[in-house]
Symmetry: C2
Subunit: 135 residues, 2 copies
C-alpha cells in the first residue's frame, strides 16, 4: 500500500506539473490491472499527444518488464501518442526516458541512473515549451 | 455503490467498443473527484482525439450540471479533443451528444430522450470509420 501510494502521489505530482504547463492531463484508471494496454498518464494539447509510464523509486537501475515496455510501445502506436517512461528519483527529481534509451535484458528493459541522467529529456522541451538547446 | 458500478460498467463497455475500433482508449482515474477538469474516457488514434463524459440511466431527460458541462467544454479546449456526452439508455443503447445539443436551464444542461435520439451522432462516424450519410 505504501508502495502504491508513493507511485500514485508521484503520478499526481507529475499531473499537476503538466497541467500547469497548459496541457489537459489525466491519470488512467486501472492501468496495470487491465487487459488493454494503457499508460499511467496522458497529456494532451491541441498540438501534442504524450503518454507517460511512471516509476518512483530510488535505485541505481530502473528495470521495466518486457511485457510492460512492449505494451507501452504498442499503446503509443495505437493512440498516436509519443511515449515516455517518467522516472522520479526521490530528492533528485524527474527523468524522462524514451523506450529506446533502455537496454533489453533477459527479463526487462534496463537503464542505470547515470545513463538515465544523460539520456533524460527536458519536460519543457517534451511539452513544446522550450526549444532543444544545441551543444 | 450500485449506481457507481452501473456507471463504471457502462464506461468499461464503451471503452471496449472503442478499443475494438482500433483506438487507444482509457478510463480516467478520479474524474469527478479531482479539482482538475477531466472527462470519463479519452479515445486516441493517430488522427483523432475524442473525450467522453458518460451517463448511464434510464429517464426521459438527461441533465448535466452546469459545472460539469462547463468543465467538459473547458477540458475539450485545453486538450484539443472533441467532446461528447455518451448517454447509455438501458435496453436502447448509446447516444452520443455534443454540448450544444443540450438546452441550458437554471441549474443544468438538459435534453429529452426524443431530442437525444434525433441529435445523437453515430459512433462509427465519430471515430472516422464511416462517412456521414446525406439525407
Amino acid at each position: 500500500m505504501a508502495h502504491y501510494n508513493k507511485g500514485a502521489n508521484a503520478e499526481r505530482e507529475l499531473l499537476r506539473i503538466i497541467y500547469d504547463n497548459g496541457f489537459g492531463c489525466v491519470r488512467i484508471a486501472g492501468s496495470g490491472a487491465t487487459i488493454l494496454p494503457s499508460p499511467d498518464i496522458v497529456a494532451l494539447s491541441p498540438n501534442k499527444k504524450i503518454s507517460f509510464e511512471c516509476k518512483a523509486w530510488n535505485s541505481n537501475y530502473l528495470n521495466v518488464s518486457i511485457t510492460q515496455m512492449t505494451e507501452l510501445i504498442k499503446w503509443g502506436e495505437i493512440s498516436g501518442t509519443e511515449v515516455f517512461v517518467a522516472w522520479k528519483i526521490p530528492q533528485k527529481g524527474w527523468l524522462f526516458l524514451k523506450p529506446e534509451d533502455f537496454a533489453k535484458k533477459a527479463k526487462s528493459y534496463s537503464i542505470n541512473q547515470k545513463q538515465a541522467f544523460k539520456k533524460s529529456q527536458n519536460l519543457a522541451v517534451i511539452l513544446g515549451k522550450q526549444a532543444v538547446l544545441k551543444e
